[in-house]
Symmetry: C2
Subunit: 151 residues, 2 copies
DNA sequence: GTAAAACCTCAAGCTAACTAGAGGTCAAGA
DNA sequence: TCTTGACCTCTAGTTAGCTTGAGGTTTTAC
């Protein structure tokens, strides 16, 4: 509950977790990756300014878009002063990510069309099959696992 | 080189690797996952019937489509007699995978449109933002990493 | 016959994004 | 004051799809 008394106070991890919907351990993890920062009180416990909520919100949305944390971190670092993102920052980032999304959709669509063109052919030939030999890299990102990369 | 002498002989791992374009270790790995099988010679070395090339080709194409190995394995097992896939099998499987691809494209498109609708709004509100609260699960598969799953 | 190249198994490492648990400290309410 | 819950750090485990390396055997070419 927000009251005039605690409106300007800093938040604990538990509070940030509850309000943002991410686990406490995930917040620790984001901090270890440099995506968020915390101040510590005398007892070494994390205390967050309220702006962290907006930062976490942006992280979660970017994740839904399929942007890896490392890239989100880069984007956040690129903000002047390393400050919490404003509406203008969000506009810029979301426009950029929208273009990336477009690209991924295009690649998938291309692949699907090629697949449809090949249904029933069954050749799967190393030399002739467009499905096997398309030189394009599908921008679909995958950690460790290298799906859809050219072989 | 294919000569009448070795045309009907079985292939070694190295030969399958060279002809299919996948690493020897990857073939070992596929075998451990039950995606392919091998006979062994007296010296315990793997010997493959030529049909394995078609199987591997199908695996690689399915991977380009974003189908996880486990699911590819299921599909291959579902073939009667566990035999090498024929053109008819390929037709069936590719039609099914094409539908899955469609679904993924649709989800991504939906997300992109929602993102475009939100550019400039900057709210990212937990309660009101459609980007944060869309109840749909994006079918984008990701190992270990749980991107795009509902929170 | 011998040496090199290819093969074998098994264990561990890599990435991403976390979670779970151990063992201990801190803060807040009764 | 005491107890409970929230917090701390650090290590290890999870998933997928492999790769790398160690230590040893087999096949092949000369």
């Amino acid at each position: 509950m927000i009251t005039p008394e605690n409106l300007h106070k800093e938040l604990t991890v538990g509070q940030v977790a509850a309000r943002s919907g991410v686990a406490v351990t995930a917040l620790h993890f984001y901090e270890s990756k440099g995506l968020i920062k915390s101040n510590r009180n005398q007892g070494n416990q994390r205390r967050y300014p309220r702006e962290v909520l907006r930062r976490v919100a942006l992280i979660k949305v970017a994740q839904r878009l399929g942007i890896p944390l490392a890239e989100i971190g880069e984007a956040l670092k690129s903000l002047p002063d390393n400050r919490a993102p404003t509406a203008a920052d969000w506009k810029m980032l979301s426009a950029q990510w929208s273009r990336e999304l477009d690209e991924r959709i295009n690649q998938l669509t291309l692949l699907r069309d090629r697949l449809n063109g090949c249904i029933g052919c069954g050749c799967l030939s190393m030399e002739a099959c467009p499905l096997r030999n398309a030189g394009d890299v599908l921008g679909e990102r995958g950690p460790g696992a290298h799906w859809l990369e050219p072989t």
